[in-house]
Amino acid sequence: MKTFIPISNGGPMLRADIPHLPFDTFRTQALDIVKNGGKVVHFFAYEDSGILKFLMVLRTHELVVAGCDAPETYLSLTSECDPFHLFEREMAEQYGIRPQGHPWLKMVRYHKNIRNKPDVFNNDYTQDIPGAYDYYRVDGDDIHEVAVGPVHAGVIEPGHFRFNCIGERVLHLEIQLGYQHRGVETLLQQVTPKRLPILTENMAGDTTIGHGLCMAQAVEALASVAVDDGAKIIRTIALELERLANHIGDLGALCMDVAFLPPANYFGRIRGDFLNLSLLLCGNRFGKGLVRPGGVRFDLNDEVRKTLTDRIVELKPQVEHVLDLIFSASTVRARFEGCGRVSRDDAGHLGLVGPAGRASGLAYDVRRWFPTEWYGYLKVPENPKPSGDVYARALVRKDEVLQSLEMIQSLIDRPVTTRVVEGRMPTLPPDSLCVTLNEAWRGEVSHALLTDDTGHILRYKVKDPSFHNWNGLAMALRDTGISDFPLNNKSFNLSYCGFDL
């Protein structure tokens, strides 16, 4: 009998080699793997010569893949197993197929399906507002609702948050996104290849390197383009710089949210210093323009390497001292500890990844499990924390900041040579598949690239870690004071645009 078969991270394969199962077998096997602890990496649909198909990538101790023909309506997998829930909603929205018995069949991003099928959610898309939706309501005389967004008080991305509260206590938080939807996946399949790097770098600008790497690795694997060691080292440094800037910024912002202003200002400034180190490397504070198929567009010559080394030597003690200041303050601990707890069980059911998952005890880290670039040669410590609260999420970030600094220092203590690339896109082979995963600062980023019989992109599926983690934030707010929402939100700091695509 055909079953799911292992694939490697960034390993190319022919589409003909993907096990094509009968739907019922596909469903049973997938449920079996996930009920026994497997996680969903991808579950998406695509059209192949007019036939709609499913493709699923699951993660156990390895990555496994299988596909099947997609029925127009089918018995929902979510009805038996939670981690499929958002994937099935996404497919219902994108292709107009209906998962029967789905417990929460609600739109994801508010757009028409691409096959012009009747809308699963009965939405009228001539109306502009995705908020035109019946939110979950808690009934009772003392219940009140708070609606926040899409335009928020700060300089941040848009999304709508609907709280059902009793007094200060949040009974239920519902998060409705989609405001940022730019049609990225469709664009990726339609544009000329030269636009691919720019699009992948900008689908979530704070994760430029994470998404850029996923695209570059997939294209390199499919087109058999070799990448030299120097480029792999530079890419690893860039991904760690991205992690540093974001974690440091978030730790500062967490202090702002508990009104401990000195570290908020120090880390605000130091975050900028790390963004500037990306600029030092490639001319852009977010690393845009660095990663291209075949390698990197900028080298790490001795002059740049020396400046980078000097800056890190200068910044490291400052970072350590500010971290000490934050984590030794009893007022900070009092606000962080026990706030917004997500149990390990819930984290597992929701499929949380990255620091949010690690803070709830899920040790998974792509850099350890499925290493890309130079991570196979680096010691990436496990960072699981048991408590699942804001404190744990802050602590994971703190550990990772210190570890990233060490990783970068170990990588730049000797010369790095690479042949810079121009960034031309190679032609892709026909009828192939490649799935790539990287541990960006929010967790597992994954792209799946399928080509058609002429080598054109048939389907480009993107999954940002925030796709897994937004429901973690909703869960953290259960039974938490509404005034602690900003603190919890910042401890996750999820991507709106990476989710909305």
Binding site: Q180, V191, G249, L279, H321
Partner: protein
Amino acid sequence: MLSVLKNRFEQGYRTCNYPKETPAVFPRYRGRPDINKDADHSVIQACADACPQDAIDVEKKRIDMGRCVFCGTCERVSGGAFVTFTDDFEISTAQRADLLTDGTLPDLARHSKQHFKKLFGRSLQLRQVSAGGCNACEADLNVLATPFFDLARFGINFVASPRHADAIVVTGPVSRNMKTALLQTYEAVPEPRVVIAVGSCPITGGPFYGSPKIAPGLESILPVDLFIPGCPPHPLTNLHGLLRFFK
């Protein structure tokens, strides 16, 4: 308490002296493009063909900085023969047409609306609206509040409500799902109000140009007073734009 003081001492004074002095940016930074008008037609054509944003006008030998994401591909392709990106970050304009540059830009201060200077020169309150932004422009606007840039010393602040604002600062390609919220925010700002477009996205759609899910530029929806190009604009570019336009 002691560690707070110790840290404060270690941090020192960090605010830059811009605009009195221009802080140095690292050499690989790509600012205003310098254009060699004598470049060979075939070289310019090669740049235009390679440009992922289709931002190069071969006949007029110009770059559209409103489309450009400053990736530097054209500089690489031409080996600097047609385009070199300078370290000049002062690249904002008051007119969309001025972004179609032959390497020179008009003085922003002389093109800004004089009554804005009178009204907002000493106090300017901004409401930011992210309409499909990738969080890079948002991040580099946020950073203006940190001690290095310290926007508040110029009397400029980001505020929480459009009712308190003089201007809206729009980032992102104006996704269809944000259009209504953007218009409502704009209408909530008391008149006279200013619209500032930050990044290539609100100017032309940026990396997402051609998508039916976005607007073909913010100007198709609202009158734009100040254009700050970049992907994202450097914080100093934002700072320059705000100071020269309003001060």
